[in-house]
Symmetry: C2
Subunit: 247 residues, 2 copies
């Protein structure tokens, strides 16, 4: 569940309606709903913005518009500024991931956070960065780090989203079937080996143990489910010209 | 440094030239340069594609085009498929971060990897997913997880980039100046306290130690640099109507 206590995404002087709309879409992808706009050049409720929002237009309709950055951050308690290049300023610089951790733990203590994103071509003005407590620098290829506005919003939002959920890093999706118990796998392997024996697969008694070990390893590392094993019985039986006598 | 041994970004049946171009830009943001295209509907060298690439057009010019996904993956050894929704398939599903770790360690062992991205509206066809070894599911708001093609490329590329670089999570950027030695901070605090004493700031002797402790804590947590301290001396001296007698 995403908490209502969320950081505000603050777009400072965004130039293009389409980028405001795409930023709303990126916010919704990451479960963020609070957008603030500082003196946008184009209308954030124009058809182009709403169409680019692609289902996230509610964020545009709910967005608050301010004349200055100072007004947009006035009721917030901790401000992060996103920058692509180093400024001549003494500030704490965070990766997006580190900032996401700080924002999330701030929110847990009811500290209202805002994240500033600058206009498309120039990025944030130094006077806006001064209004921030810390800087976010997204780690990207230094030879080509200019991001589309909505992509900067997406990457910061993505790191925030990752802090709020817990998803297993890796899982085997088995749908209705379950990973096979080892006993079932062993029974299947024994059946396979008997069939191979009957079909004279093991030409030399000397090499047989090694071949069997290899075969077992192949099937062992497949992480077979019950359904997989049933499928494999079918394959073997059909290849061997038998009806599906084992299940 | 980004190694030449890179995963291939494989766009399967991309529909719009602008999305191919934006994907190239996202790849370059993440230091990825090998693009493969399976039967793109629009020309990846069209003006719209090149313009959307916004400086990453070399990736488009170098991209290889294939008629089928099977041909596009033929010379690769490990394939990941990106999906937004669960399919009725028994496969290992990874977060983008977990997949990035696997791809990176695969590359370290010279295992050539490819990452499949499906067409804009429909995502990858099941027949393409079958050609993959594992699945990547980017963790996003389940109520709104449809991503623009280039944003999916960006998020996977970003996770890959993060695995290849080491950036300090948090750092204080001080430019030419250094964090002040504690001795300098102590000297400054003593100076400040003397000035405050002279200006009758501490009204009661009883409360003075507590007030001093609070003041010290304020300046202590500022992580002041040598330049900051010099600036603060200036402020105090000007407020007190003195010339800059301490440095």
């Amino acid at each position: 569940m995403i908490s209502d206590n969320q950081p505000c995404v603050i777009l400072v002087n965004p130039q293009l309606a389409v980028n405001i709309g795409m930023s709303a879409r990126a916010m919704m992808n990451c479960g963020l709903y609070q957008m603030r706009l500082v003196a946008p050049r184009e209308d954030h409720l124009s058809e182009r913005a709403v169409s680019a929002a692609s289902g996230a237009e509610k964020i545009l309709f709910d967005a608050k518009v301010y004349a200055t950055t100072a007004e947009a951050v006035a009721d917030l308690e901790k401000i992060f500024a996103t920058t692509a290049r180093r400024r001549d300023m003494i500030k704490i610089v965070n990766t997006a991931e580190a900032a996401a951790a700080k924002i999330t733990s701030g929110l847990n203590e009811n500290i209202r956070c805002g994240i500033l994103f600058g206009p498309e071509r120039t990025g944030l003005h130094n006077d806006d960065i001064v209004l921030s407590d810390e800087i976010i620098e997204i780690p990207l290829n230094p030879e080509h780090c200019s991001l589309n506005l909505s992509q900067a919003v997406l990457l910061v939002g993505y790191e925030l989203y990752k802090k709020q959920i817990s998803v297993p890093e890796t899982q085997l999706i088995t749908n209705k079937t379950k990973p096979a118990p080892k006993e079932q796998l062993a029974r299947f392997l024994a059946y396979l080996e008997t069939e191979l024996e009957e079909h004279h697969t093991f030409r030399s008694d000397e090499k047989k143990p090694h071949m069997i070990r290899n075969i077992r390893n192949i099937f062992q590392r497949m992480e077979l489910t019950e359904q997989d094993i049933s499928t494999l019985y079918g394959i073997i039986n059909h290849l061997a010209g038998k009806s599906n006598r084992h299940k």
